[in-house]
């Protein structure tokens, strides 16, 4: 088996048995990137020299038996939304084209502390706004399973890089589905933790009450390993939760016997792809066979989630993106020498179309006379959506749904109509509004060989049960690594 197709835990075992070195694994991944990334375009920057240095350090650390973690020496990639000290960080935007952060985001710092080797930064929708990665200012990432289709988004580069075996794992962010949706479309595991579980410090903000970082991996065990390294209170993020981080691996093999799985009728809707629905229902049967009890539940406000999301997320974005004004970092367009003119020209030429559209929507809905009708109303309905989950979780331990209504769509298919694109997140958005954890795991393929995702949602801070159920499915279904032919 090629080094670059191993899971984290398999590679880690080989590293600890000294069967391979981190330098060898890192070189294997760099070669793979060199061989396939012209087609996939998952990376905005590959940091080969730094990665090889980190790999040497990791090999030393293992040789000296110094603070070894399962990630020590494991090559990963990171979405270009995370600040990386001394490494260009663009958020796939022209406005940050030359930005080199003077510090590491907490997520990156923790992964480096664990000994992970960082191969480079992944492409994404500009400022994480999008569901197809077509909104990157720099390049389009292809779905490794069908090169004429999108990888999903906004963390499309991260999902594609794991699927194309260009890294052992990646880190993305999820504001309305941006980890789970591309994971489903690329056939990998994508985990969005509880809001506040992982620090947002140094993660470029889109919608601060929704953004959450999480891993892309080849299996659920790797997901537990990555999450353990990333999670935990951070004094530099006042919204991070001060709660102990459990050992996610200790309960992961416990199975689902007796576990109650809620099946919300609002997530099996007319118009969804028949093959997606069939695969997800088959997955539920497998979980039932494993001893889980399927319980019908209702999340009655689901149909309002997309509307709430696009008001709340854009309002927060319009405020967060005010910082890009040509003064402290990034692009400056200053033709006339007039300050106001500089702001406007900088922002107009630095931001792409979708980002401007969302800033406009957020600014409008927060402006005098509209605040009550839009932002306040949306925040109230958000409470109803959160309450729906609280009620449902009285009757079940986890909730299982399809991750997306359709498999990967073609480039350009939804670009012209923003609303259709927004509706592709219909099954993932509520989870962010409620702040609960969720995972997407592969549960089969369409006849055209496009991956399908099963979503499992859990109670706040109960990542353990979500991972346990996901693992039970993965094990019972006999999921083994599926790699696209490239």
């Amino acid at each position: 088996m090629d080094l670059n197709s191993l899971t984290i835990h398999a590679l880690s075992e080989k590293l600890s048995k000294k069967e391979v070195s981190s330098v060898e694994a890192t070189k294997a991944y760099l070669e793979r990137i060199g061989a396939v990334d012209d087609k996939i375009k998952a990376f905005l920057i590959v940091t080969a020299d730094e990665a090889l240095k980190q790999a040497e350090e990791a090999d030393k650390r293992r040789a000296q038996n110094n603070n070894i973690t399962p990630l020590t020496g494991v090559p990963i990639s990171v979405k270009d939304i995370f600040c990386t000290k001394g490494i260009r960080t663009t958020c796939a935007s022209k406005i940050l084209a030359g930005f080199v952060p003077p510090y590491d985001s907490t997520v990156v710092a923790r992964l480096k502390d664990a000994g992970a080797v960082i191969l480079g930064k992944n492409n994404m929708d500009e400022f994480a706004m999008g569901s197809s990665t077509e909104n990157s200012a720099f390049q389009k990432t292809a779905n490794p399973w069908a090169l004429d289709r999108v990888p999903g988004g906004s963390s499309g580069g991260s999902a594609a890089s794991v699927a194309a075996l260009e890294c052992a794992a990646s880190v993305g962010t999820d504001t309305g589905g941006s980890i789970r949706q591309p994971a489903a479309l690329c056939g990998v595991v994508g985990f969005k933790p509880t809001y506040g579980r992982v620090s947002r410090f140094g993660m470029i903000a889109f919608a601060s009450s929704l953004d959450q970082a999480g891993p892309f991996t080849r299996d659920t065990i790797d997901s537990a390993i990555m999450l353990k390294a990333m999670a935990g209170f951070d004094p530099r993020d006042s919204t991070s939760i001060d709660a102990p981080v459990p050992d996610y691996l200790s309960e992961i093999e416990k199975g689902v016997a007796g576990l109650k799985i809620g099946i919300p009728k609002e997530y099996f809707i007319e118009g969804m792809d028949a093959e997606v629905e069939a695969s997800v229902r088959e997955a539920l049967k497998i979980l039932e066979k494993e001893g889980a009890v399927l319980v019908p539940v209702s999340l009655p406000h689901t149909e309002y989630a997309v509307a709430v999301y696009y008001l709340v997320a854009t309002a927060e974005a319009s405020s967060n993106l005010a910082r890009f004004d040509g003064v402290k970092y990034g692009l400056r367009v200053n033709e006339s020498g007039n300050l106001l003119d500089m702001y406007k020209k900088t922002r107009d030429s630095g931001f792409g179309g979708e980002v401007k559209r969302r800033i406009m929507l957020g600014t409008y809905s927060l402006s005098a006379g509209y605040y009550d009708a839009y932002y306040k109303k949306a925040s109230e309905v958000r409470t109803l959506i959160k309450n729906d989950f609280e009620t449902a979780f009285k009757a079940c331990d986890i909730i299982a749904t399809p991750t997306t209504p359709t498999p990967a769509f073609r480039f350009g298919e939804k670009v012209a109509d923003p609303l259709t694109m927004y509706l592709s997140d219909i099954f993932t958005i509520s989870c962010n509004l409620a702040g609960i954890p969720g995972v997407s795991i592969p549960c089969g393929f369409t006849k055209e060989n496009l991956p399908i995702g099963l979503q499992i949602l859990g109670r706040p801070l109960d990542e353990t049960t979500v991972l346990r159920a996901a693992r039970a499915y993965e094990r019972a279904a006999g999921c083994t690594l599926q790699a696209p032919a490239l």
């Binding site: 809001y195 919204t239 003064v327 970092y329 800033i359 925040s379 109803l384 702040g435």
Partner: protein, 95 residues
């Protein structure tokens, strides 16, 4: 609820965005459609429902007023499009 080009220009001004004529028309049309869609929220009676702005309880974080290491000026200014000694430099504001 439809949005006029005047509303779009006002929002653009508030957001410090200079839109081309093409963008003005495009956003007037697209924002109207999106606002029409979100109008469905008005179907719901939310009287007495408290808004959710964060899903975790927020508390104001206070720390001791002690000096701690921070970014040196040089590094903090390293990405500035224009700077002068210890300051970010912007176009003249006061004539």
């Amino acid at each position: 609820m439809s949005i006029t080009k005047k509303d779009v220009l006002h929002a653009a001004d508030l957001a410090r965005l200079e839109l081309t004529a093409e963008e003005q028309d495009l956003y007037t049309e697209q924002l109207s459609r999106i606002l029409n869609y979100v109008e469905k929220l008005s179907e719901l009676d939310t009287t007495g429902i408290a808004p959710t702005t964060y899903t975790v309880p927020l508390k104001t974080v206070m720390r001791a007023d002690e000096s701690r290491p921070s970014l040196p000026h040089e590094e903090a200014l390293s990405n500035a499009p224009d700077s002068d000694k210890d300051c970010f430099k912007v176009p003249r504001i006061i004539e």
